[in-house]
């Protein structure tokens, strides 16, 4: 369902030119759980951003469900973010002025769906936050905030979930709980691509790709 073909990404020009990704290719089938590993600056987050249409590749193609998405204009990308792809970030990226429930409802509101409250509550319960729906992010722990972010990613029933170091800000125990939640989602049929530098976490993924200096050095 996802195909990354020879993607290269460079920043700057001339002597200040930095190669973030160098001719990277990978494939993911429906239901896959792929971990992308590598040290800081290896290009993992750049790859994830390009897969999700948050950033554009300098060269190469990204194909999602048979459609090229690397060269789409903003309006077409909006459509993909509303259904095809959802994100979970290391810093959670919740809107601090909204409650957990409102944060989960946000994608539905932007899609023009105004009747999603029961669904949003249901998803919050699924991630174990049924009783925290009216709390604002500031009143939640890191693990709880990430659960809200995951619930927000699920509300549009995406075919692919992209997670950028989702456990990076957590202690070992909380991190494993979040990881378990991802594995549960994967068992429920969601495709997941997760960036992490934690080998312990990567072990639980179905497939691991190791990046170094913008190139894939190992696949398992």
């Amino acid at each position: 369902m996802l195909e990354v073909k020879s993607v290269t990404k460079t920043y700057g020009e001339g002597t200040t030119k930095v190669v973030a990704l160098d001719n990277v290719s990978l494939q993911a089938a429906k239901g896959d759980f792929i971990a992308i590993m590598g040290p800081s600056g290896s290009g993992k987050s750049t790859l994830l951003n390009i897969i999700g249409g948050l950033d554009y590749p300098t060269e190469g193609e990204v194909v999602l469900d048979g459609t090229r998405i690397d060269n789409l204009d903003e309006n077409a990308l909006v459509e993909i973010r509303r259904g095809g792809i959802a994100y979970v970030f290391q810093q959670y990226h919740l809107l601090s002025s909204l409650t957990a429930l409102e944060n989960v409802l946000l994608p539905l509101i932007f899609r023009g769906v105004n009747t999603g409250e029961a669904k949003a509550l249901d998803i919050l319960r699924r991630v174990g936050l049924g009783r925290r729906a009216e709390h604002k992010p500031g009143q939640l722990s890191g693990g709880e905030q990430q659960r809200v972010a995951i619930a927000r990613a699920l509300v549009n029933d995406p075919s692919l979930i992209l997670a950028d170091e989702p456990t990076g800000n957590m202690d070992q125990k909380t991190g494993m709980e979040i990881l378990e939640l991802f594995r549960q989602l994967n068992r429920d049929g969601h495709s997941i691509i997760m960036v992490t530098h934690n080998a312990e976490i990567a072990k639980h993924a179905g497939q691991t790709i190791v990046l170094q200096d913008g190139q894939i050095v190992h696949t398992s």
Binding site: N49, L54, D55, Y56, E74, N75, V78, R81, R82, A86, Y87, F89, H93, L94, L95, L106, P107, F110, R111, R152, N156
Partner: protein, 381 residues
Amino acid sequence: MSYAVLGVVIGTMTVIGILTVALAGESRIYAQLEDYGANLVVIPAISQVDLELGGLGLGALIVGENYIPEDKVSQVRQIADDMVNQVLGIEDERYRYTVSVAPKLYANSRVGEVSVMVVGIDPEEEMKIKTWWRIQEGEPLEQADQALIGARASELLELSVDDKIVLNGVSVTVAGILEETGSNDDYQVFVQIETAQEAFDKEGVVSSIDVRALCAACPVEEIADEINMMIPGVRAVAVRQIAMTEMGMMERVNRFMLALAGITLAVGLFGVVNTMMTSVHERIRDIGIMRAVGASRNQIVKVFIYEAIIVGILGGIFGYVAGTLLAYAVGPLIFEGVAVSYVPQYFPLSLILAVLVAAIATLYPAFRATRIRVADSLRSL
């Protein structure tokens, strides 16, 4: 956000304040115009009669031997009425603007040993022109055998209401005494024009005709020209110059103040743009989040426009109140003795102005913020 509201408030406050003061100043000038009474005087073509313009006494009154035939009064009225209504574009008889035309007959006479000026008037028309006339005692002039007496004349002649006086052999009763006006009127005795004509043997003639056509668009000079051309033997003089000068001055002051208001509004707009820039910039990460979860650029811009409308409405309300208060405080310093009053019609104007300023100030930064790549906006902060 509160800084943005403040910026909008300052801008609209200045505009509303200046407009309110300007309106008050204008109505004061119109009020002063009222005091000029007549703004067109028709006199015999070769007479020596000095002009007396309503309340403004311009030197002594000398009555020559020349008079205007009485039938010219209706001609003067016809010309003035037609021209005014033509300029105002009024065709329907019911809504015609009525020009006041007051003929007068002056005669020197004696009451006992005292010499007085007797003036024959059309009481109804005269009262319309001399809006400042107040009767301090008695009744207005209604009957042919009655007289109305100026305040000083009543003292000099030691007359009070219901006393009888004889004017050149004709006996009249004092109906009322005028309040002091500070003009020649105070020394005069007023009777109906027919009474004066009979008493002084001047049937069918008048000394002068005062015309009051007091609207902003009234073509007083043109009316004067028309009368001079159409009616031989009379001279019509427009006395609008004083008023015109003052109105012209007012207009210039108004224009200057509006320019000032415009500049203030522009400066205010700049301030609001600045605060909105900051406000948008602070939320670049939020914008990135919203876009990552499926918000389109238009939806983001809309969010900020809604905010701008709220800022505008708040700014408009406070701007109107502050502007009106400013006008109350500053108005009397600009126009001495001006009565500033709040202008309800400026409230919607204030709202529209404020919302526009806020929306314009927000649109650009919001639009620019949505051009940033999502990955970059998420990386900020």
